[in-house]
């Protein structure tokens, strides 16, 4: 059965937090509901689960790629056409260090950015449950994505917790 979503919009942070607690008590799993805010709050403000990120691994991975690319380019091109310039050896360490350094950092940055997008689960072509007032006016959105038969109960919990309005309809 395809999942459907229901979105509750809250004004008060406490009410949004209470909604999450109520959903947990009603046996909804952590991966079935989510909070959306237009601005970052301190972690755990709504009692949400801490997302585990592995972002720190990406820069090292990128650095290794960058260093390898730099090694291939500098050593490869200089040995392919060895030309002594300025009395320096063909493979001179100080100049090669410069290229290694820059390439290592460049690929670190590139892979980190891709890692950031990956960890954010972006790009998301179909956004799913969302309301523009979350970003523009500061509402707190709590979205529950479950099979259609569990939607009414979720909507009831959201309303009971103090949601200013609820919306249904998205398919996840």
């Amino acid at each position: 059965m395809a999942n459907k979503s229901v979105l509750g919009l809250f004004i008060d942070e406490n009410e949004a937090g209470d909604a999450l607690s109520s959903l947990r008590k009603a046996k909804y799993q952590d991966n079935e509901f989510e909070v959306m805010t237009g601005t970052p709050y301190p972690h755990g403000t709504f009692g949400e689960a801490h997302p585990k990120l592995r972002l720190h691994r990406f820069p090292i991975f990128g650095a290794v790629i960058g260093f390898t690319v730099a090694l291939i380019i500098t050593v490869g091109t200089q040995l392919a056409y060895p030309l002594v310039t300025g009395g320096k050896p063909v493979l001179s360490i100080p100049p090669m260090l410069v290229i290694f350094y820059e390439m290592t950092l460049l690929f670190s940055v590139i892979v980190t950015v891709f890692g950031a997008l990956f960890e954010s689960r972006l790009p998301k072509i179909f956004m799913g449950a969302y309301d523009e007032r979350i970003m523009t006016e500061g509402y707190i959105g709590v979205v529950v994505s479950v099979p259609i038969d569990r939607i009414p109960k979720a909507e009831q919990i959201l309303k009971k917790s103090g949601a200013e309005s609820t919306k249904r309809g998205w398919e996840e």
Binding site: H43, E48, T74, T77, S92, V98, I110, M135, T136, G138
Partner: protein, 464 residues
């Protein structure tokens, strides 16, 4: 920060997306004027392409003139943007919030302006791609190149470093911009703009995972970009410092000297930009005198360190007691027009601005900060000019080799082009994306606390 106004999310959204949603009355006239200056510059460049580099003032032995000065100047300006943004993010300074994106965008356009000067400077710009180590198969089988780039040359290190910095800046700016693109996506009415913003926002919704990445990624990127920032201007300085044949260039302090000079001119550029934004976009609720005060104090420290580096450079230039070096320094200090330029450089680069910044009333006044920081950049442009051109004038024993340099109208036009380009670029960017990050300001509102101790209220903030 003791001055504060708690604003609603709608107000913040409205204020900071207003320049994006609709153009201000002055926008098109200002952009049009800047566009005209750019057109004049481009016309000069077309003339230069047609007629050759003889239309510039460069001639033997002064082969590097206004273009290279301008190149180093804009690399310098670009430095402070990312430095201010990165260091303030790493230290979690609260006063960074309205400043970071403007500084990063200034970096972006400054770098492009810097690279454009290289294109203006080279005799055969259609061969500029030869600097890349791409095999002929990627570049239209251009076997005429016949050689790989010389890794031992600083002129190969330069594009690698500046290219790395440019690409890293673009990625940095974009990553941090995603939540605000999402905000603009939600703010604009349906139409082509909404589609474009939706694509660029990548479906950002503001989930805890996405915000956590938004908190972690800029810090990681800042930690990666800071070493790049240090290396770029070091490498640019080595264009000069590794040369043993030109007086005044062969000094080991050039790398830190250029970097601290870049921070000095760049942070001043950021202040100029901040004051401009404050007046143009009426952002007095977001950019406060406290911000100018904090940056002003930073500038005093940076300027003093820069002056110490200048002192070291001069002392060690004279230490070997070499006649050509002494002759060069004599020329810079006592012979017009160099002596006039030297005095103007010292006054505008250090003594007047730093003397003014010692007073709190000056630091807290956007008008004073605007003018003093413009003075700094006049001084720093002259500094680069005085490093490059007098040394190349070659005051050595072989007097037949003495030369001089006067910038031509084409060069002046193209220098003006770069200034117009950067200002225009920032304004156009502000027309498309919010220049002050709304989500950052809203986060500041949520993190803010007040500690009441007796009759005193101390502002406090959540530390994550």
């Amino acid at each position: 920060m003791q001055e504060h106004q708690q604003l609603s999310d709608s107000e913040i959204t409205e204020d900071l997306t207003a320049p994006v949603i609709r153009s201000a009355r002055w926008f098109w006239s200002v952009v049009g004027s800047l566009g005209f200056i750019m057109l004049v510059g481009i016309s000069g460049y077309i003339y230069e392409l047609y007629s050759g580099l003889g239309v510039t003032g460069v001639q033997r032995p002064v082969y590097w003139g206004a273009y290279i000065t301008n190149f180093v100047f804009w690399i310098g300006i670009s430095h402070a943007g990312i430095m201010v943004s990165a260091i303030l993010r790493l230290t979690q300074a609260e006063w960074k919030r309205p400043i970071t994106r403007a500084a990063e965008v200034l970096t972006l356009f400054s770098l492009i302006a810097a690279l454009s000067n290289i294109m203006f400077h080279v005799g055969r710009p259609w061969r500029i791609y030869w600097i890349t180590p791409l095999p002929p198969i990627f570049i239209g089988f251009d076997f005429a190149r016949g050689i790989w780039p010389n890794v031992r040359s600083p002129f190969v290190w330069d594009p690698v470093a500046v290219g790395t910095y440019l690409l890293s800046t673009i990625l940095f700016v974009y990553t941090c911009l995603i939540p605000d693109i999402a905000l603009v996506r939600d703010k604009v009415k349906a139409g082509p703009a909404k589609i474009i913003y939706s694509i660029l926002a990548l479906g950002f919704r503001g989930t805890p995972r996405q915000w956590k990445v938004q908190g972690t990624a800029p810090i990681l990127l800042s930690a990666l970009v800071l070493p790049i920032f240090v290396s770029v201007h070091s490498i640019v300085s080595w264009d000069f410092a590794v040369s043993i044949a030109v007086e005044g260039w062969h000094s080991t302090i050039f790398a830190p000297y250029f970097i601290i000079g870049a921070i000095h001119s760049g942070v001043s550029g950021v202040v100029t930009l901040m004051a401009g934004l404050l007046w143009l976009y009426k952002l007095d609720k977001y950019i406060k005198p406290d911000h100018f005060d904090a940056i002003g104090r930073l500038l005093v420290v940076v300027a003093t360190i820069w002056f110490f580096a200048l002192f070291l450079e001069w002392v060690y230039a004279l230490y070997p007691l070499e006649d050509p070096e002494i002759a060069l320094r004599n020329m810079q200090v006592s012979q017009p027009p160099w002596s006039y330029l030297f005095i103007v450089f010292l006054l505008t680069g250090f003594f007047i601005p730093v003397g003014a910044w010692l007073f709190k009333s000056v630091r807290r006044n956007p008008m004073w900060m605007f003018f003093t920081t413009i003075l700094v950049n006049i001084g720093m442009w002259l500094e680069r000019f005085l490093i490059i051109v007098p040394g190349l004038s070659r005051r050595t024993e072989l007097s037949f080799n003495w030369g001089t340099y006067t910038p031509s109208l084409v060069e002046i036009g193209l220098v003006a082009f770069t200034f117009a380009f950067v200002i225009c670029g920032v304004l156009v960017f502000a027309r498309i994306f919010p220049l002050i990050p709304p989500f950052d300001i809203k986060e500041g509102m949520r993190f803010r606390h007040v500690i009441k101790i007796g009759k005193k209220n101390i502002s406090a903030v959540v530390r994550e």
